[in-house]
């Protein structure tokens, strides 16, 4: 049997909107992945540490505070610094189009906005995590 995909779902920054992150975490778990949820108010350092400790294949970051431009690229940079640049980083939340392009240039592999079907997110993790 193939190794189960391991995903870390994290909420960087200060906003308390965890509905989407939790729904995605549950959908990935129901799709047979191993999911670690970090909870709220995590710093990029906390997230990278947890990702390395848990040996995950991918990280899903959720932010609805507008701080994504500062926080998401920091996670990518820190992963590279720690020699874990192979971990796929994706983001979700309220993220304007112009920021999506910038985030992708900064190494965030995909960005999922409001109304994205769960099936699409699950499929993305499945195809990128193995």
């Amino acid at each position: 049997m193939a190794k189960k995909i391991r995903v870390l779902i994290a909420k960087p920054g200060l906003d308390g909107h965890d509905r989407g992150a939790k729904v995605v975490a549950r959908a990935l778990r129901d799709a047979g992945m191993e999911v670690i949820y970090t909870g709220l108010r995590q710093s990029p350092e906390d997230i990278v540490e947890a990702a390395i400790q848990e040996d995950v294949d991918a990280i899903g970051l959720s932010s609805l505070s507008g701080a994504h431009m500062a926080l998401f690229p920091d996670v990518v940079k820190l992963l590279k610094k720690r020699g874990a640049g192979d971990i796929v980083v994706v983001g979700g939340g309220i993220i304007p189009d112009e920021d999506v392009a910038k985030l992708k240039r900064a190494g965030v592999r995909a960005v999922f906005g409001p109304g994205t079907p769960l099936a699409e997110i699950v499929e993305y993790f499945r195809s990128s995590g193995t």
Binding site: I9, D18, V23, Y37, P96
Partner: protein
């Protein structure tokens, strides 16, 4: 800070009217803007009840909020049940402090969501009033009829706004607002159609306001009280809502009450389960969301972006720096020391928070003092 500002401007506190949210229980359950653990936080809330009832008698000392519980994913029945359970918990804490129920209960206020299902929402508001009045009268033995009244604000469901075909949100919001008015809300907030994207732009806000004005001035729906009372359907839905709320009260009681249930993650798990079920229903097309899973068009939505300048941020930083430089350092330090001492004891913190504000302490500095004394809450992790 509001009171200190009124004082500086020579406005008597007794003439101040307004509401603070001050509802910490729903933070642990849903909105997640907590700092301290539940018990010291509840003490701060009751401090406000005690202080407010004596010093600012026209002020609503709390807005017990179902709104955020619903936004986080709860059903209408869960919103109703959890909000009222929280309300009764505040009443118990007030009574345990030795406050007379009729001194503080008339200033308790509520805040509910207005979601998509028109009749269900109306039934929810009606059930809330019935339950509150009954329990205040029969269980808590309040004598003043004003203690029995459940006065509430309503906001339309932000979570129902779609990024797809955003203009359609204007219609959605209008229907939700109608439910709130037919359900007897005292005040109303209509969301703007672009809020799936951003803090709303000027035009979107104006349309949201006009939606309310059409209801208030053109439709006639605000001309009577409880217009759907007696409708067999709305009455039976109201009864069902009440029963579902009482079933939840029993479950919360069995867990040892609201705070033990928070520690066990009960509310949080119930809400997460409902949020997931709701999303699955949309994915499986058991629930239609116009423009999202049906009646879809292939177009890029056009929303005029709201631009916030960096200057606004820089200006605030400059103001803060100036305040810190110009304030009386000794007075500031003394006030924070006295606040720390009162937090360590059990006297009412409000006069000491006010003194800290008068000495130009910032919110962050006041919270830091409390953080040292009270510690911080760590929520149970679940999804």
């Amino acid at each position: 800070m509001y009171l200190a500002n009124a004082e500086r401007r020579g406005i008597p506190w007794k003439s101040l009217r307004g509401t603070i949210q001050n509802d910490i229980l729903k933070e642990y359950q849903a909105q997640k803007e907590w700092i301290f653990p539940p018990e010291p936080s509840m003490r701060l809330v009751v401090d406000t009840f005690e202080f407010g009832s004596k010093q600012v008698p026209q002020w609503n000392t709390i807005s017990i909020s179902g709104y955020h519980i619903r936004e986080a994913g709860a059903t209408a029945a869960q919103e109703l049940a959890f909000t009222l359970a929280n309300g009764f918990e505040y009443v118990r804490w007030g009574v345990d402090r030795g406050l007379k129920i009729d001194d503080f209960a008339p200033r308790l206020s509520f805040f509910f969501n207005a979601h998509n299902d028109l009749f269900e929402e109306i039934a929810k508001y009606r059930a809330a009033r019935r339950i509150w009045a009954r329990e205040m009268r029969e269980t808590f033995l309040a004598k003043n009829p004003r203690s029995w009244l459940l006065r509430f604000h309503t906001q339309t469901a932000g979570v129902s706004l779609t990024a797809q075909q955003p203009e359609v949100n204007i219609v959605r919001t209008a229907v939700q607002a109608l439910a709130a008015v037919l359900g007897g809300t005292q005040s109303l907030h209509t969301n703007s159609y672009d809020e799936a994207y951003q803090v709303p732009n000027e035009k979107a806000v104006r349309i949201a306001l006009r939606t309310q004005q059409i209801l208030a001035h053109e439709s006639g729906v605000a001309n009577t009280v409880d217009p759907l009372g007696g409708s067999y359907y709305v009455e039976s839905l109201t009864d069902r809502m009440e029963q579902e709320a009482y079933a939840y009260f029993d479950r919360i009681q069995a867990l040892g009450g609201v705070i033990p249930a928070i520690r066990k993650g009960f509310f949080q798990q119930e809400i997460a389960n409902s949020a997931y079920r709701y999303q699955r229903e949309i994915e499986d097309k058991e629930r239609t969301i116009v423009g999202v899973n049906d009646f879809v068009v292939d177009e890029r939505p056009e929303v005029e972006p709201l631009r916030v300048t960096r200057e606004a941020y820089a200006r605030q930083l400059r103001r803060l720096a100036r305040t810190r430089k110009e304030r009386d350092a000794q007075k500031h330090e003394g006030a924070l020391d006295r606040l720390r001492k009162v937090c360590e004891g059990d006297a009412n913190t409000m006069p000491f928070i006010l003194d800290a504000v008068r000495a130009d302490a910032t919110l962050g500095e006041i919270c830091d003092v409390m953080r040292e004394v009270f510690g911080v809450w760590e929520e149970p992790l679940l999804y």
